[in-house]
């Protein structure tokens, strides 16, 4: 078997195993949701553990503030628990809880003072091992001595300059890695709208961060 054919075969096998994992994940989530609906808090605890990192990361990137993200994550999961009876399974639990978290966060941001208080989390150690990021910092910026923490701060400031809807699509697509279709289901608009918002948001970010880009 040639190298290319082997690659194709291994890619197909990987895709198949990913699909199977997703199907298993969905079935497991559906069972946990049913148990949580009956008032089983142990099952709900498992659901929280499954989705907490993704929800928290989204809300953190929306607020650029750890305390706000923490409060909003807690509120979103509590609200979802109280609303479980209304979850009919028409969308995935993942989409449904994302929608609750995102709606609450957008309402919160509209009420929040215009002056944003950044409370940024630390970078994990892996960032130093990411050659692309290291090269981006050391080679592509006019200020070669730029520190990682400074870049992080500028990045968050630029994000906060975007409107909530534009920040949301950048967060969900470019940081969380969701597809346009998934984002459309969460924010209740079509994928074309998601694409156009993403394009505009990137243009804005590029303008704000021009010193740190080529």
């Amino acid at each position: 078997m040639s190298g290319a054919a082997q690659k194709e075969t291994s890619k197909a096998a990987a895709d198949q195993s990913t699909d199977e994992e997703r199907a298993e994940e969905r079935a497991r989530t559906a069972k946990l949701v049913e148990r949580a609906k009956q008032g089983d808090l142990g099952a709900y605890d498992e659901l929280i553990r499954t989705f907490q990192e993704r929800i928290y990361a989204t809300l953190y990137n929306m607020t650029s503030n750890h305390e706000d993200a923490h409060d909003l994550t807690q509120e979103a999961f509590i609200k979802a628990y109280r609303s479980l009876a209304s979850f009919k399974g028409q969308s995935s639990f993942y989409t449904w809880i994302y929608r609750i978290a995102v709606n609450r966060t957008i309402n919160f941001l509209k009420k929040r003072n215009r002056r944003v208080n950044l409370s940024l989390n630390d970078m994990d150690a892996n960032v130093e091992n990411n050659p692309e990021l290291v090269s981006l910092i050391s080679e592509n910026t006019p200020r070669r001595d730029v520190r990682l923490s400074e870049l992080q701060e500028k990045l968050n400031e630029a994000m906060q300059r975007l409107s909530e809807s534009h920040r949301l699509v950048v967060t969900l697509h470019d940081i969380q890695g969701l597809s346009h279709e998934e984002i459309g289901r969460i924010v209740n608009c079509n994928p074309g709208t998601v694409r156009s918002r993403l394009f505009y948001a990137r243009q804005q970010l590029q303008a704000h961060l021009s010193d740190y880009l080529k």
Binding site: I48, Y56, Y81, Q152, V170, Q206
Partner: protein, 171 residues
């Protein structure tokens, strides 16, 4: 590849930096316990009141909000209409003065003033006016002088005859 995707390659790399931002170590170990504790605490103090169960889908379903709004607005409209019927301009037939007996007993001999209220008088009886009041009215209309005061009592001098009010012996 999407249109203009190449233009943003550098930006996307920069945004990857945000994937490395994370909460303090151990944060995700404690978060579920904190959420469950809050749920249990709310349950314990009866926070799941009736109105919480009434509005479960507000965050996820705008249609639900609209439906509740229409119901509340309808109740307000019905309430206003019912209130309008009870006002003087829109009294129901059984509240007309002539039918006052149906709902209200006129005054007795011990309480004659009650039967002097025109609105409360029965339709088949003439409205009675005490003679003393009639005399007072006559004095007031014939007098050219200004009244002594808004709340001045009529003077009971020798020219005035005071009569007791006459009431029908039997009604």
């Amino acid at each position: 590849m999407e249109p203009n995707e190449d233009n943003f390659e550098q930006l996307r790399k920069l945004l990857e930096l945000k994937r490395h931002e994370g909460p303090p170590p151990g944060y995700f170990e404690d978060l579920p316990g904190g959420i469950i504790a809050r749920i249990e605490a709310e349950d314990a103090r009866g926070a799941s009141a009736w109105w919480r169960r009434f509005i479960p889908g507000f965050d996820t379903s705008p249609a639900m909000v609209g439906a509740y709004g229409v119901i509340v607005a309808s109740l307000v409209v019905v309430g206003v209409q019912l209130a309008g019927r009870a006002t003087p301009g829109g009294e129901p037939a059984d509240l007309q003065p002539g039918n006052a007996l149906a709902i209200s007993e006129p005054g007795t001999a011990d309480d004659p003033a009650a039967s002097l209220q025109p609105a409360m008088a029965p339709a088949n009886l003439p409205i009675m006016e005490p003679a003393s009041l009639a005399v007072f009215h006559e004095r007031e209309t014939n007098s050219s002088s200004a009244p002594t005061g808004m709340f001045a009592t009529p003077s009971l001098n020798g020219t005035t005859t005071v009569e007791r009010a006459a009431f029908p012996a039997n009604r």
